[in-house]
Amino acid sequence: MSSVAQKRGFGATLWDWLTTVDHKKIGILYLLGGGFFFIVGGIEAMIIRLQLLTPNNDLVSAGIFNQMITMHGTTMIFLAAMPILIGFMNAIMPLQIGARDVAFPFLNSLGFWMFMFGGIFLNLSWFFGQVPDAGWTSYASLALVSEGHGVDFYAIGLQIAGGGTLMGGINFLVTIINMRAPGMTYMRMPLFTWTTFVASAMILFAFPPLTVGLFLLTFERMFGGNFFDHTMGGNTIIWEHIFWIFGHPEVYILILPAFGIFSEIFSIFSRKRLFGYSAMVFATVLIGFLGFMVWAHHMFTVGLGPTANAIFSVATMAIAIPTGVKIFNWLLTMWGGSIKITTPMLWALGFIPTFVMGGVTGVMLGTAPLDYQLHDTYFVVAHFHYVIVGGTVFGILAGLHLYWPKMFGTLLNEMLGKVTFWFFFIGFHLTFLIQHWLGFWGMPRRVFTYMDGQGWNSSNLISTVGALFMAIGITVLVYNIIVTSVKNVRVANDPWGDGRTLEWAIESPPLYYNFAQTPLVRGLDTVYIEKMEGNASGLTPAEPVQDIHMPNGSFIPFMMSLGLFIAGFGAMYRAEESWGLPVLIFGLLWTFIAMAMRSLKDDLGYYVKKDEILRDMKRKGGQK
């Protein structure tokens, strides 16, 4: 299939998307899936804020409120932020290193479908009326006494989705290790590729503990195991350790790719080389390493003792150092640059003060004695929204505007983009800045309502108004996407005019084989170097035009994920329904048979013929 629009039936198009192993299409699928769940999580957030609009409000009951906060957190972290970032990694990273696809295209597709089926499984809980309600951390002491199947939906849904993420992590690691174009040494890799690399390594080592934790919870709730129940000799703290050994690296998995996107933006729109590139790389790796050393700062009040608290406190504060290095490097990249204020750049500029505030409150919370005061108050809520929204979500929205033309071949409207930014930015600070004080004034988090006369009324009102602003911002963004997609004005290779890395030297969107000839990388910001030397195409080929090997599409990933989805329902209803066990076995067999088919049937891929590539090059008049 070439980029020239060919008339095809709906069925053929659908089949193409269900079986695709093309990293660019999977990137778009991740973006669509993640975007859908982002809207769902946003609606849940709005319900939370509307419930807290006035004291003694009864918009939703206490039980539904618990379900809302649980699903809001779980959805935003696992089903929105991570998949959207993985979508960018998929769509952009292989282009940045001059590769034609990821290392394991089949696994890439499997990862997406597992995420999608896991996410659907989790959200089907709404239709069963049994929704997870033990918080996104699902602490065992709460989760074990949660009635109905709510927590089972959580455990099994995340298990399926988490498996997909793990595959994505391994895939990106191997892609970056093995498939860089000639001349693309590690220290010439764009920062977004570097952060993808480190985040993927963190996924590889952080997700197995989650897998185990969720299995233990599943076994305890559904199969009679005893790990957390103290009356049977269990220990509820084990869950907290396992969860946070996963959960803390997870927040760095969320923030590092956003850092990468911002690094690209600052460099492109300041029209300068990134300041302190090697320090940036070092800081990224250091953050990735330290991210595994600090999990117990979520557990200061558990009572691990002063020694443990002191060690984790110091380790936590140490992370501020590499993060600070990054902040200063971004500022110095802009220093003396010829700055262009575009929508992505606006998000990046908004990100710096916002994220620094989140970082400072992070160091405050990392101080164990102070944490005893602030634990489980709205101060914590304010803190993690400042880093996750101010860092990750800003990064996602910046990346969305920056990479939209590369992914879809058309530019989002800049005017509407700026409207989105200002509504969201102002709304964000309205919502969460005041929550720091709400925390100081003693308002606990995760309460479904509060009484009148405690001085919290106007602050909560301001907070809810801010949330409405954010919702307006996102609505404008959706409108922007629809309008520009309908207009569909095609753009050139480098719509921003200042692209410095390989992805900006090829078509928007790229042809399905990305590079007609694998490029030769001559330094950091290789496209910039080429352009400065008068090579308008920005690329020097490293090979003659020749046949290109490409992977075949496959329907097996969809089938494998569907089997796990079916098995999940069987496991959940095994104890009370006679059909439970057979369905569980049927689903697992389905998956294993699909796996065996993959193993038994050779899949050697196919070749794009030299003639076709030459034809494309002639039509595009592009790469020489």
């Binding site: 793990l166 690691l173 590889l204 185990v212 220990n235 396992i242």
Partner: protein, 208 residues
């Protein structure tokens, strides 16, 4: 990749398992996967150590009372030997001797099957004693750790059976060499995990 390309022991590459880009990807990817598996088992070990010998009040099972080393010794012997035989298989993979490789892989699979049979016997024996999965934190943690390892052995057996069957008629090529090689990596890995289970669960259980 051309599956019909015929090799001789002379033209067969020194490292057939990573002779092409696809093979190199699988090789590196599988090592990384084993890195993740290591963390998975580490988490299970930590859980087991935290819950060892713990149960409801009046719980009478302990590691000393339960485990018997002779059976576990035989299991260890079987699994360690199967690791050795898989090394022989890889030796013949490198020498392009398909028949001998298949033979050693079959022996590997049978040794693995013996291990799994003894493990099932062991579990059934414990259950008969009343040490069931749901009777305590200790039993849950024990069966989950050792059972996860056993599940890995079972998956390995299905995997190697499919590989032997699928390739029985067509001999070695650069496409399936990686598949055999990653299987042997996997087999070594579950062997190493067993060494830790043997030490931490059984030896330290009986002595400590």
């Amino acid at each position: 990749m051309d599956l019909n390309k015929k090799f001789t022991p002379e033209t067969w590459p020194d490292h057939p398992e990573r002779a092409t880009l696809e093979a190199k990807n699988k090789f590196v990817g599988f090592w990384l996967f084993l890195g993740g598996e290591t963390i998975l088992f580490a988490t299970l070990f930590a859980t087991y150590l935290a819950l060892k010998n713990k149960g409801p009040s009046g719980f009478e099972f302990t590691t000393q009372g339960l485990f018997e080393l002779p059976l576990v010794f035989v299991m260890t012997l079987l699994l360690l030997t199967s690791s050795l035989t898989s090394v022989y298989a890889m030796y013949h993979l490198r020498n392009y001797d398909f028949k001998k490789m298949q033979l050693w892989l079959v022996i590997t699979a049978f040794l693995g099957l013996g291990f799994l049979a003894l493990e099932m016997y062991e579990f059934v024996h414990y259950v008969k004693l009343g040490f069931t999965y749901d009777n305590s934190a200790f039993s849950s943690a024990f069966y989950t750790l050792v059972g996860t390892h056993g599940f890995h052995v079972a998956v390995g057996l299905v995997w190697i059976t499919l590989l032997i069957y699928r390739n029985s008629k067509r001999g070695l090529n650069l496409y399936n060499a990686t598949k055999f090689y990653t299987f042997s990596l996997y087999w070594h890995f579950i062997d190493v995990v067993w060494v830790f289970i043997f030490t931490v669960v059984y030896l330290m259980g009986v002595i400590g």
